[in-house]
Symmetry: C2
Subunit: 161 residues, 2 copies
């Protein structure tokens, strides 16, 4: 008999464990980021993307693609970050301004990233250990590939406009 | 030499794979939930909690604990769900109203949960396969335990008020 849509007891248990880990780890990282550096996880995500781009600048549609955020959410968030001096918009093209990380934004990411990395190591990488961590990485890549394959034919996963 | 806070190349790669899986899977599940059933992931999370509670009712502080949401976020979201008829507040105690799932809320979760479960199975459980899925569950529990142990002594993970 083929399995129905419902998860069986063991599957359900692991799914719940995964959800709880995801949430607990995320909450832990976010609270420290906010308390110690005054950054939200959304700020951090934008700053990581910009600071790793070739010249600290990206088009909004590139940021939208790499964050998988809807355009309106991205636009509102960038406006708030601009007011706080973390990024600025440069209108080299009226429709598609470039988003540029400021010196203050660079300082914020350079201050906060090592502390975040240390927490990820302590509570995630080291708890998994090398073998289980490698298994996770391999399976994670396969999950992404499966969803992307499905979405190429059946849905639009990200707003590609 | 002990490792510094930074993740090394392989660790960084797996961490990124994990983050991408988490986001891709979550985005995929959320978009379908919204399109097919008009529910956000926050609606779904509240409805799952209430529908699994003993009598379809919980105190707000219990919901806050199980969702790990801040009180103000929870309160705003419950107000919006009440307006849409998915829950109602029953003031058996002026300070701590009970949150009760309505018939409409029950219908919403009964309609949407099997479709969500089927997607979780197809794109997550089946892609991992039983062995790797069991490894994930075991490690996930250890990550949660490590953060809880740390937070018992060093920080308040959730708002326990």
């Amino acid at each position: 008999m083929s399995k129905g849509p419902w998860l069986d007891g063991d599957e359900q248990k692991v799914w719940r464990s995964y959800l709880l880990m995801r949430k607990t780890l995320e909450t832990h990282l976010e609270r420290h980021l906010q308390r110690e550096f005054g950054l939200s996880k959304s700020d951090f995500e934008i700053l990581v993307n910009l600071s790793e781009s070739e010249s600290g600048r990206m088009r909004a549609f590139e940021l939208s693609r790499s964050t998988q955020w809807e355009k309106s959410r991205l636009s509102h968030h960038l406006t708030r970050m601009e007011k706080r001096g973390l990024i600025r918009k440069e209108a080299c093209d009226a429709r598609y301004p470039e988003i540029v990380i400021t010196d203050e934004g660079l300082r914020a990411i350079r201050d906060s990233a090592p502390a975040q990395a240390a927490r990820v190591r302590e509570f995630f990488v080291d708890v998994f250990g090398p073998e289980r961590f490698a298994v996770l990485g391999e399976a994670a890549d396969e999950v992404v590939a499966a969803i992307e394959k499905h979405c190429d034919t059946d849905c639009s996963l990200v707003d590609r406009s």
